[in-house]
Symmetry: C2
Subunit: 152 residues, 2 copies
DNA sequence: CATTCTATGTCAGACTACTGACATGGGGGG
DNA sequence: CCCCCCATGTCAGTAGTCTGACATAGAATG
């Protein structure tokens, strides 16, 4: 078991490669969404709400991989732009405020989803169906391995 | 999870899964490096300098997936802490200032590399050698596909 | 040789995201 | 029943990162 090598070899490191891939995807999505006036986290929030209406702020934050606080300001911006609506008063049961897409938000998301799908297709250009499934399985394994061994 | 035509299905989206994996890895690395007083980009910078001494600010920025400006302030902090050294004067040929690890920086990196390697090993826990090679190949294919089709 | 293009370093500003902290609502265990 | 623990929403402060812009150095082009 290890300890013999003193530094990580970036050319063969899975972590470095993972970051490189995520960075490339992020840049491509950012460029594709910029003309629509949406950032990547904003798009992620809209997409989450389209598939699971009524998600609360904290649930959206976990789904978009940001903190509650960041998602809160993000949601305020989307509300201000009329893409998302939240009840102003606490919902009688619990504190979580369920958010909903407005018709305008749904419309904006339609366009955003199509450009993002084009980006994803570009990314999968050289992969056949089997390879895509394999990649999905391998990434899932990495995620579960990391979260299972996560302290606290 | 019915596949809708108008929106991206997050449960089967490779992009979403990629972001999830990168986020989990980032969190794990962040937690592992925090006790050492290093952030992930700082660690990336040190690791790059260990393997390719004399890299300039811009080259480090590309290698760490940040902008030149961000890498510049990051380098200033590392210089202030005595982990990295750069010549104060322009090097007669070109504008690029080659950066070097100081002995203290090398020492700090030793510890950081070991904890990061432990994180990577946790991530690869459920993958055998073949699967790791496959994952590497698939991610590389995604990166090249994205950069080849990149506009600009 | 002059011009243009590209790359680099740097400065200024704005924005994004995070950490820390506090109050509130709901569920269990004593 | 009361208390403890966890999750949520929110506020304030801080730190990190990006975009935009400018000047300079070297290469490429005519």
């Amino acid at each position: 078991m290890g300890g013999s090598r003193s530094t990580v070899d970036l050319d063969t490191s899975l972590g470095y490669l993972l970051k490189q891939a995520a960075s490339a995807l992020r840049s491509a999505m950012d460029a594709a969404l910029r003309p629509l006036g949406l950032t990547v986290p904003q798009y992620a929030c809209l997409e989450l709400l389209a598939q699971r209406p009524g998600l609360s702020n904290s649930e959206l934050a976990r789904g978009a991989f940001v903190t509650r606080q960041s998602m809160n300001v993000l949601l305020q911006g989307l509300e201000r732009d009329g893409l998302v609506s939240r009840p102003a008063e606490p919902p009688a049961a619990g504190r979580a405020l369920p958010a909903q897409l407005t018709p305008l938000g749904r419309e904006r998301l339609e366009v955003a989803s199509s450009v993002v799908q084009q980006v994803e297709e570009r990314m999968r250009a050289g992969l056949d169906a089997d390879q895509q499934g394999a990649l999905r399985a391998l990434l899932t394994a990495c995620v579960t391995a990391l979260s299972d061994s996560a302290p606290k």
